[in-house]
Amino acid sequence: MFDAYTSQVLTFIGINSILALSLYITALAGQLSVGHAAFMGIGAYTSALLMAKLGWPFFLTTACGAVAGGFFGFCIGLPTLRLKDLYLAIATLAFNIIWVVMVMNIEAFGGALGIFNVPKVTNNWIVYLSLGVLLLSFYRLQDSRMGRAFRAIEEDEDAARAMGVNAVYYKVYAFTLGAFLAAYAGALYAHFVTFISPHDFEVDRSIEILLFVVLGGGQTFIGPVVGAVLLTLAPEVLRFLAEYRLLVYGLMFVVIMLIRHEGLIEEDTISWKRWSRWLRREGDASPP
């Protein structure tokens, strides 16, 4: 249907969208993580190693990879509960760096050489089916009890606690789920690129995922996906920029913060009510 190149780009878009959503869900509960690449790496390595050493089938290894990621997410999310904003961001950053150094040093994981000849199993069907399921879940999450609890915690944790929302439970849940999804995306990545090394999961990758959410908008679940799509296509479309690509990339962060710090997609952008009011020219309606 698509030629090999387009198909490849589509797969990367799908995987990046899942990654963006994984960061989004931790951010939903008010926790900014700059270390998601480590969870991605955990999923990738677990899945690749299980398949190489034990010969398990794809679905089993991917599931195990995701669970391993979730486990580490739990281990990190629990003790860091009382860290706010900036401190949590730095703690997750530290975790990312430590993880990379550890894996580099362990021979059994391939060290700096990484693992190659990982069997290529991921294809667009698997990726987009997973993404579809995720999007549906997020849509349903918005109005569910859990979704509202997340929003309450993000707005004001103390007030939420006072209202009886079990902040501890939800925050750890969000963190674990985010790590789980990131690890799942990592496993998909490993079985697509067929070669993984610790360098693939360094802090730069965490920042890349952060940019998906920052560019696309962290208020709705559509935002991160839009960010992922745009930023995966950008290097391909802007290939002529070659050496200047990183320059534009960095500048983009700065400019977005100045011009539209909520990101491209705000809550109002996809609100049906706002659109219909504006289209019908009611009262003081303005475009969303």
């Binding site: 030629d3 090999a4 040093n105 090394s197 360098h199 050496e243 710090h261």
Partner: protein, 422 residues
Amino acid sequence: MLAALYKPKRSQRNPLCPPKKSLAAKLYGCWFNPIIRREGKMKKGMVLGMCFLLAFCFTGPRVRVSSAADEILVGNASSLTGTAAQYGISTYEGLEVAMEEINAAGGILGKKIQILKGDDSGDPRQAINVVQKFITKDKVLVIIGAELTGTTRVTGPISNQGQMVQFTASATGAGLTDNLPYVFRNALPEAYAIPFVVDAAKKKFKMGSVVILTSYNLDYSVDLTKIYEKALSASGIKVQDKISYAEGDIDFSAQVSKIKALKPEVVVMTGYYQESAQLMIEMRKQGINCPILGSNGFNDPKILDLAGKAMEGSAWASGFFPDNPDPRVRKFVAKVQEKYKKKPNQFHAQAYDALWIIAEAIKRAGVTESTPENRTKIRDALSRIEKFPGVSGTHTFRAGKGDAEKSVFILTLRDGKYALLD
């Protein structure tokens, strides 16, 4: 109905009614919420500047991808940005020199060569995209790349599957061409070159105890350390200790003090040239004067710039000897010096040879259109090339093996100039 005639115009209905904004203005005002506008007169110039940047992005220098009808497209997948950028840029420069020479002589089969840049930043993920694009979208005839072992390892199978010849002029990892009939290289695999270095060093230096320095987060260095260990133990030389550092480190005083305490007779360095140069300088500063054995990473003249006298007496393997009196080499060196104001390094030389060899293969195959059958013809022609004289040595390819057979030069630094170790 007459009342309609007296209906005042919309804008005059209520003096407090704000003037109607056009749709575009509304969208802009609501969509972009510039904090800079709210805060007052801040950088209008900044917005202007951003517009310029965007304009530049979309109208700026573009890489011309012309149709393949009148040109032969060669894709160069390499790391033009990132930590290995220095090697990638050298490779591209070498290709450019060769391209100009070939085109000046009339091109191949009457068509001129054009080289497409494909930057992968040394990242395997991007390398895959670059190579896949070269095969599917740009329909190049041949790919020269990738630059590094890691990127070549992932892209080789892709080129192989797409029946596209991929020729690397710089990746030296083990097994990159095994079982991949479309992948070739003229870079010296380390596993092949290191035993020569150890042999030559044994004859020249006392090698009772050796310390190896490894850049633990660099796959190239970790690989090379294992190769050195094997070669040293095969020669019966004891490895006293392995000390590691990280690529990107700037302070090596601690590692060097540790070396000083161990008092080895030879130190082996396995990393890229930046850190190796720093280590050499620090070693000489702390008074360690034993000889140093190096690696392919030493093949950039920048290391001489950085390390200067600290490098005297060290030895390493190279595919290219810049002070080779051979007239072809001298002409090449002069050309690179004139065009880029620098002395060519091994990467320039091997890339230069690579393009010439490929040009020869294309000429022998007699085809210029990029189809799988034609590319297979080029592959067959390439694997039959024997004794091709290049600036980095005489190349011979054998059927079934992608690695070129060529000579290994053991170089050393004597009185600030490169010389052959003897």
